[in-house]
């Protein structure tokens, strides 16, 4: 019962926030709605017992991608004062959203403790699950059967890195010269200072 309630809650909020992503006027709000959508997708994954994918969603999408988006969005020209203007007015709404998230958290954990939703029995011919937790099961497959693909995926990432460096790296030669720390340290008073006796009425000649 708690699972069904949790499912509908996650599903409705996810769809609603996905709609808000594309309808929100302010791009920063869009990104925040997107994060909410990701969180709810993670909740759905927890409900079907795929806690590893749920954690991946949170870590990869919410953690990395959304923050990256936020950086990009921050570079857009947005009037911060206009955004702050509605703070007090929108405060109750913020509290409501916070309460919804809290309720989701409680429901999600409660539903997870009750057990995964039964999605039907797999066909008899399907391979049995290797390990107890699905993190271990994915790991067992990834490092045995699919090790070749795993290694090649590593090379793909390396190629992406080489590409980024090849296309953007420039040999650093600033026009103002460079700081040579060794040269600075080697300086001593004898060669750095000179004694001069300027004649009256004339400037110092160095």
């Amino acid at each position: 019962m708690i699972q069904t309630i949790a499912f509908y809650m996650f599903a409705i909020i996810m769809i609603a926030s996905a709609v808000m992503v594309i309808t929100a006027r302010n791009p920063v709000h869009s990104v925040l709605w997107l994060i909410l959508a990701f969180f709810n997708a993670a909740g759905l994954m927890v409900l079907v017992g795929a806690e590893f994918i749920a954690m991946l969603l949170v870590i990869v999408y919410v953690g990395a991608v959304a923050v990256l988006f936020l950086f990009v969005v921050m570079m857009l020209d947005i009037d911060v004062a206009a955004m702050r203007a509605g703070f007090i007015r929108n405060f109750p709404l913020g509290i409501v959203v916070a309460l919804i998230l809290l309720a989701e958290l409680v429901l999600g954990i409660g539903a997870y403790n009750v057990g995964a939703i039964n999605l039907g029995t797999p066909p008899a011919g399907d391979a049995s699950v290797v390990a107890e937790s699905n993190t271990a099961a994915i790991g067992a497959l990834l490092y045995s059967k699919y090790v070749f693909l795993f290694e090649i995926a590593g090379i793909i990432l390396l190629v992406a890195m080489i590409g980024a460096i090849v296309l953007t790296h420039r040999p650093s030669k600033s026009k103002r010269g460079q700081q040579d720390i060794g040269k600075q340290v080697r300086r001593n008073p004898d060669e750095a200072t000179v004694m001069k006796q300027p004649e009256v009425g004339k400037g110092v000649e160095l």
């Binding site: 059967k145 995926a153 090379i155 793909i156 390396l158 080489i162 090849v166």
Partner: protein, 484 residues
């Protein structure tokens, strides 16, 4: 299948990856002047991979590696050899082009090596996941190569266009793959075939269509060809030569295996798509090239046109048709590389490329040897009989006629006459127009060697190869149908 045997079967990929990693370190720790040495080392590694790959043909082919992720059979050995040969040729002619512009760096050779690894995986993939991984490795390095001359606006534009459209195509393929997996319950080609033979639903058909649409993008078949002229024109010429040869071979080989093995039981489902793409490519490739002034753009349309002929062989969906595809591909690789090497040799003393029809008018007086080589290449691309290009067209049309697709063959032959127009225009401008621009500068020996070999293959002497090429291609095509 033991683990050591799997490693042995994928030896070419593993060797090339290790070579790429070592050369990457060498590039990072040395100055730019080492770029030439690194390129030579990369060519050596590719030669090694080629020989290793050919040696696999002798002992026990038809073996699956890593529990059915990759398969080494006559087909993959054939396609992989072509890919390696094309990559070697492009690496040999690349250094001078980039040195003229002061942009030659060791990473170029490293990216080509990783690209070759990706293409090798593509042609021997017998699992949807292997296919995608190989495709991405090859595509990702191609995007970087397209914008390698980063100070050149056109090169950056080419890289960006290729990246965005290529990313879209990858997404389409991935969506199709997910549908195919969803409706068949397995990612292995044989498993998909068995599942589809038992039950082929509308959803699965959608999956097949999406996968084919994405692959059509990768081979630059109409209606997914829009990126080709821009990318081919903007990318540095050695990279364009590479795009038109090696990745195209790999993508066509992947498409053929996909169509023949997992979707082989549903030939009527994909045949109409392939027939449409073939005819549209031939017509658009022929008509689009007519107005072009830029030689690289012209050759881009020529490659679209050629993909159409290759797809005619696939549309026949018979072993003879697949064999025709492979024969056509091998001849096409030599014609394309020859043409682009000739373009690379068309440069002034200052290192500027002679890139338009005006620049090459009267080439027969300023550089007769080059003009005659280009004449042979253009006549061969047009499919004029004494040259080897005719044989490629002949085998695919023969396969289409044998498969009772006479209308397809007739339209194809009619459209190839339109295509002959601009190839012959090329020859007319070189031989019968007054010289206008500067004469091309002397080209290094390496360029002449590559060009000479290509011209030798496509010359009438190439017909000496037909019995051997035919039997190898037949064996390769048979490997697909035997597996299925």
């Amino acid at each position: 299948m033991s683990y050591a045997n799997s490693l042995y079967l994928t030896g070419a990929e593993i060797g090339l990856s290790i070579a790429g990693l070592v050369l990457l370190l060498a590039t990072a720790w040395t100055t730019r002047s080492s770029a030439r040495a690194i390129t030579i080392a990369a060519v050596t590694a590719l030669f090694g991979a080629l020989i290793f790959n050919l040696s696999l043909a002798n002992d026990g082919v038809g073996a699956a590696a890593f529990g059915g992720l990759l398969e080494v059979d006559a087909f993959s050995i054939f396609a992989k050899s072509l890919v390696y040969i094309a990559t070697i040729a492009c690496l040999i002619v690349a250094p001078r082009y980039f040195e003229d512009r002061g942009q030659f760096r060791g990473e170029f050779a490293v990216l080509m090596l990783f690209n070759a690894v990706g293409m090798g995986i593509m042609v021997s993939a017998v699992d949807l996941m292997t296919l995608y991984i190989g495709l991405e490795l090859s595509s990702l390095s191609s995007y970087v190569l397209a914008s390698f001359a980063r100070r050149d606006d056109k090169s950056s534009e080419a890289g960006l266009k290729y990246f965005i459209l290529g990313g879209l195509a990858s997404g389409i393929i991935l969506y199709g793959v997910s549908l195919v997996y969803g409706f068949s319950g397995t990612t292995s080609y044989d498993g998909v075939r068995a599942a589809f033979d038992a039950d082929f639903s509308t959803g699965a058909l959608f999956g097949v269509v999406f996968v084919l649409a994405g692959l059509a993008f990768k081979v630059a078949a109409v209606p997914f060809h829009m990126w080709t002229p821009d990318v081919y024109e903007g990318a540095p010429t050695p990279v364009t030569a590479f795009f038109a040869s090696a990745p195209k071979v790999a993508a066509v080989a992947m498409l053929v295996r996909m169509a023949a093995v997992p979707f082989g039981g549903q030939a009527e489902a994909w045949q109409q798509i392939v027939i449409f793409a073939a005819l549209a490519s031939i017509v658009v490739g022929a008509l689009g090239a007519i107005g072009q002034q830029n030689l690289k753009r012209l050759l881009a349309y020529s490659s679209i046109n050629n993909v159409g002929f290759i797809l005619i062989g696939l549309a026949a969906a018979t072993p003879a048709g697949i064999s025709g595809v492979l024969v056509y591909l091998s001849i096409y690789v030599f014609m394309t590389i020859g043409s682009f090497v000739a373009l690379l040799m068309l440069r002034t003393e200052k290192g500027e490329a002679l890139a338009t029809f005006d620049d090459i008018s009267g080439l027969s007086t300023s550089s007769p040897a080059l003009a005659w080589c280009l004449l042979a290449l253009m006549f061969s691309l047009a499919g004029i009989p004494p040259l080897f290009g005719f044989w490629g067209k002949f085998v695919v049309f023969q396969a289409a006629v044998q498969a009772d697709m006479i209308a397809l063959a007739a339209i194809g032959i009619a459209a190839s006459v339109i295509g002959a127009f601009y190839y012959i225009k090329f020859v007319k401008v070189m031989f019968f127009d007054e010289p206008k621009g500067d004469a091309p500068a002397k080209a290094p020996v390496s360029h002449w060697v590559v060009l000479g070999l290509c011209v030798l293959v496509i010359s009438p002497l190439g017909y000496l190869l037909t019995p051997w090429l035919g039997s190898v291609a037949d064996a390769a095509a048979q490997a697909l149908f035997f597996a299925a």
